[in-house]
C-alpha cells in the first residue's frame, strides 16, 4: 500500500483530534494538543499501523524562561513512512499525558523526555531516574536552550541504596554496572524467588555523556566525528545516518560511487559486529572456544576495514557530500579473499549453533519473544526479525546503494535465542553477498561533491538499519553553521522493553544469555546485598555504603 493511501486512512481516523496536518513525501505531520493526544494516539493505535520509533522534544529557546513553547514529537514508523504527532506546550509549565497505556514502549522515551527536556509526563509510572545521575539538581534540564553547565552542579545527593524497596523473603540481585569481561555499564536489578526471576528492572545512564547537547555546540562537519563516537561498534552507521540527514537538509546528494562505498562499509561493519556478538553470546553461554574462534576470524574483517580506511574502529569514511576513501581493484580483491575465508568459517559456526546439543540446550526455547510481543513492544533489528517481525529498513525503505543492490531480509519465526543466532548468522551470509555484488558492479565517478558550510533551515528524519536495528536521527537546522537539535534514538533502547518482560520467569542462569540476545553486550557480576548471617535467622539489608565499608575494612584486616 502506498503511503498516500495509508496517510489518508490515518487522517480520517484521527481527524477529530488533530487541528492540522501536512504531508511531505514519506512524512505525515499532525498537530494536536496535550488534552487530545491520548485519544488521538489511541485511535491511531487501533489502526495497527507501524510502531513508535522515537519521541523528540524541541525547545523554542527564548531568552525569558517562561516564554515560548516546547514541542513534543511522537514519531511512528512503518517502512519508509513516518507519522508524527506534534504537541506544543507552554515553556513555563510544560506537561503532556503519558501515552504508555495505548503504546507501552513509550514509557522509556517519555522518561528521557521528562529528564532531559523537563516536560512533565503525567501518568508515567516508576519515578526513578533513567538517564541522568542521582546527584543531578532538580528542575535543571540539559536539552533546554537556556541550560548552562554551572546550573548542573552536583547536589551531593547520595545514590539510593540498591534493593531498598525489597520485600521480606525476596532477593534482589544487582547486576552491573561493572562487568567482568565486557564493555557497556548498565545496572539491572533482578528480583528472584529461588532460581526464578520474578521481576527485572534496569537503570541506564552510566555512559550518558550528553552528546545531543554537545552536538548543538559543534559545527555540522565537526559533528560527523562526534556522532561516529556514539558507539565504537557501529561507528560508521551513526555517521552515515547523520550525513544522510544533513545532506538531505542541505539539498546535496552524494555521488553514486560514494554511496556504494558507504554501503560497503555499512555491510562490513555489520559483519564485524555480528561476529563480535557471536563470540560474546557464546562466552555468556560458557562456550569460550567459540568466543576465541569467532574473535580470531573477526580480525580478518578488521584487517580489511583497516586496509580500506586506515582505521580499525572509527573508520571516518564519511564527509558531508561524499566519502574520503575509494575502494580500488587491489583492495577489492583482498576484500573478496577475506570474505571467502569468512564465509567458510561462518558455515562452520552455523553448524555449531544449530547442531551442538549442549549449546542448543542453552538457546532452544529460551527467552522467547512472541511475534505479538515483538510487534507491540516495538523491537527492532535482528531481535525483531528472529520473532518473525519483518523490520529491516534496508529492505523496506532502501537508502544508499540498497536501492540498486536489494537485500533479502532474513526472518525466523521460532522467536527464541536459537533463532537470534540463526538470524544473525544468516545475515552474515547476506552481507558477504552484498559486499561482493557491490564490489563487482561498483559505479564509476566522483567520491564527493562540495557541501555548504551552513545548512538551510528545516528539519529531517534520517533512519538507517544499524547492526542492532533501526537507528533514528532527527535533525533540525535554523540556517546556521551548527545544528539546532540532534535527536538520536539507538536500537538497543527499543529492545529493552521486550527483553525485560521476557526475562521474568526464567532461571537466573539464563539471564545473561537473554540479555545478550538483543546484542547490548552484557555480562554480569552479581553481588547480592541481602545477607543471611551465620547464626542469625533474620535477613539484613545492607546498603552499598555498608557493603563498601565492610569490604574495605575486611581487606584492611579490620574484620574478623
Amino acid at each position: 500500500m502506498s503511503p498516500e493511501a495509508d496517510f489518508l486512512r490515518i487522517s480520517e481516523s484521527v481527524g477529530p483530534w488533530v487541528s492540522g496536518s501536512r504531508t511531505a513525501g514519506h512524512r505525515l505531520d499532525m498537530d494536536t494538543s496535550a488534552e487530545r493526544l491520548v485519544p488521538a494516539v489511541t485511535a491511531f493505535k487501533n489502526l495497527s499501523w507501524g510502531y513508535l520509533s522515537a519521541i523528540t522534544g524541541l525547545d523554542s529557546g527564548t531568552v525569558e524562561p517562561s516564554d515560548g513553547h516546547i514541542e513534543v514529537l511522537y514519531h511512528f514508523c512503518r517502512g519508509p513512512a513516518v507519522v508524527t504527532f506534534r504537541v506544543k506546550v507552554p515553556r513555563g509549565d510544560p506537561s503532556v499525558p503519558s501515552i504508555g497505556a495505548p503504546v507501552p514502549p513509550a514509557v522509556l522515551f517519555e522518561r528521557e523526555l521528562a529528564e532531559t527536556m523537563g516536560v512533565r509526563v503525567t501518568g508515567l509510572p516508576d519515578g526513578k531516574r533513567q538517564f541522568l545521575s542521582d546527584d543531578w539538581p532538580e528542575n535543571v534540564y540539559p536539552l533546554r536552550k537556556d541550560f548552562t553547565l554551572e546550573s548542573a552542579a552536583a547536589t551531593g545527593e547520595p545514590a539510593p541504596a540498591v534493593g531498598s524497596g525489597e520485600e521480606p523473603g525476596t532477593f534482589i540481585i544487582p547486576i552491573g554496572p561493572q562487568h567482568p569481561a565486557l564493555k557497556e555499564p548498565g545496572h539491572f536489578e533482578l528480583t528472584v524467588d529461588g532460581e526464578i526471576v520474578t521481576h527485572a528492572s534496569i537503570r541506564l545512564g552510566y555512559v550518558h555523556r550528553g552528546i545531543e547537547k554537545g552536538a548543538e555546540d559543534r559545527s555540522w562537519v565537526h559533528n560527523i566525528y562526534l556522532m561516529e563516537r556514539i558507539c565504537g561498534i557501529c561507528s560508521h552507521i551513526h555517521a552515515t545516518a547523520y550525513v544522510l540527514g544533513v545532506e538531505s537538509l542541505a539539498g546535496v546528494a552524494a555521488p553514486p560511487r560514494a554511496q556504494a562505498v558507504r554501503t560497503v562499509f555499512c555491510e562490513m561493519e555489520r559483519i564485524h559486529s555480528h561476529l563480535l556478538w557471536l563470540g560474546v553470546a557464546a562466552h555468556e553461554a560458557g562456550f569460550d572456544t567459540l568466543f576465541m574462534y569467532s574473535w580470531r576470524d573477526r580480525e580478518t574483517i578488521m584487517d580489511l576495514l583497516e586496509e580500506l580506511s586506515g582505521n580499525r574502529v572509527n573508520y571516518s569514511v564519511n564527509l558531508l557530500g561524499g566519502v574520503k576513501y575509494d575502494v580500488d581493484t587491489k583492495a577489492a580483491d583482498s576484500v573478496r579473499r577475506g570474505l571467502d575465508f569468512l564465509e567458510r568459517r561462518t558455515k562452520h559456526y552455523m553448524k555449531i549453533v544449530t547442531s551442538d546439543e549442549s549449546f542448543l540446550r542453552r538457546t532452544r526455547g529460551v527467552g522467547a519473544i512472541t511475534y505479538d510481543q515483538a510487534n507491540l513492544l516495538g523491537t527492532v533489528g535482528p531481535t525483531a526479525r528472529a520473532s518473525g517481525v519483518s523490520r529491516d529498513l534496508r529492505h523496506e525503505a532502501p537508502y544508499l546503494a540498497y536501492r540498486d543492490f536489494p537485500i533479502r531480509p532474513v526472518l525466523d519465526s521460532r522467536c527464541d535465542l536459537a533463532a537470534r543466532f540463526v538470524v544473525r548468522i544468516n545475515e552474515l551470509f547476506e552481507s558477504y553477498r552484498m559486499v561482493r555484488e557491490i564490489l563487482d558492479r561498483m559505479p564509476a565517478g566522483e567520491l564527493a561533491v562540495p557541501a555548504p558550510r551552513k545548512v538551510q533551515e528545516g528539519e529531517v528524519i534520517s533512519r538507517v538499519e544499524a547492526p542492532r536495528g533501526e537507528l533514528f536521527y532527527y535533525l533540525r537546522s535554523t540556517g546556521g553553521v551548527k545544528p539546532d537539535r540532534v535527536k538520536v534514538r539507538t536500537p538497543s533502547l527499543c529492545n529493552w522493553a521486550a527483553v525485560l518482560s521476557v526475562a521474568v520467569g526464567h532461571k537466573l542462569a539464563d539471564i545473561p544469555m537473554i540479555l545478550v540476545g538483543i546484542d547490548p553486550c552484557f555480562s554480569c557480576n552479581d553481588r547480592s546485598i541481602t545477607l543471611r548471617r551465620r547464626g542469625s535467622r533474620s535477613l539484613e539489608n545492607w546498603s552499598w555504603e555498608d557493603l563498601r565499608a565492610y569490604g574495605i575494612s575486611y581487606y584492611a584486616g579490620g574484620a574478623t
Partner: protein, 155 residues
C-alpha cells in the same frame, strides 16, 4: 621481618608474571573496550604476558579503564578502585580517558580518569590499536620490574 620481606618479593615477582586485570568502562563509546577484548583474543593474545582478565575487582592487580568519566559512573569507578587490594595499578586506555576526547565539554562528563583515581599508564588513541594496549601493559610491567631492584618494592 626477613620472612615478610621475602614473601613480599615473591608476591611482586608473581604479580609481574601474572597480573590480573579488571576492566571498567566509565562512559566510553565501546571502541576501546572492544579493542581491549580484541587484545585478549587469539590474534594479539595478551595472555602471553601472563595477563588474565577476570571479573571481580577484589582479585585484580590492574584496573584497565576506558572512556571519560560520566557523573553516574564516577562513584562506581571509585568503588571498583577501592575494592581492589593494594598494591594496585591503573591503565587508562584511549583519548577520552586522558582528556575527555571528543566528549570534552559535554554536560554529563566530570573529567578524565586521572581526575578521579591515580593513573600509572596512559595509552592514547581513538581507539588505541591492540599493539598499543599491549605496549601499555608491558610498560606497566617494566615499571614494576624496575621496582624490584629498589628497596621497599613497588608503591
Amino acid at each position: 621481618m626477613a620472612l615478610r620481606g621475602a614473601l613480599d618479593k615473591a608476591a611482586l615477582w608473581s604479580r609481574i608474571n601474572s597480573p590480573w586485570l579488571v576492566h571498567f568502562n566509565s562512559g566510553s563509546c565501546n571502541g576501546c573496550d572492544i579493542e581491549i577484548l580484541a587484545t585478549l583474543a587469539p590474534r594479539y593474545d595478551l595472555e602471553r604476558f601472563g595477563v588474565k582478565l577476570q571479573g571481580s575487582p577484589r582479585h585484580a592487580d590492574v584496573l584497565i579503564c576506558t572512556g571519560p568519566v560520566t557523573r553516574l559512573a564516577r562513584e562506581r569507578l571509585l568503588r571498583t578502585y577501592e575494592q581492589m587490594p593494594a598494591p594496585k595499578f591503573v591503565i587508562a586506555v584511549g583519548s577520552c580517558s586522558i582528556t575527555g576526547g571528543a566528549f570534552h565539554g559535554c554536560y554529563n562528563i566530570v573529567g578524565d580518569i586521572g581526575d578521579v583515581i591515580p593513573v600509572d599508564v596512559y595509552v592514547p588513541g581513538c581507539p588505541p590499536r591492540p599493539e598499543a594496549i599491549i605496549d601499555g601493559v608491558v610498560q606497566l610491567l617494566t615499571k614494576l620490574r624496575a621496582s624490584i631492584a629498589r628497596p621497599g618494592g613497588a608503591s
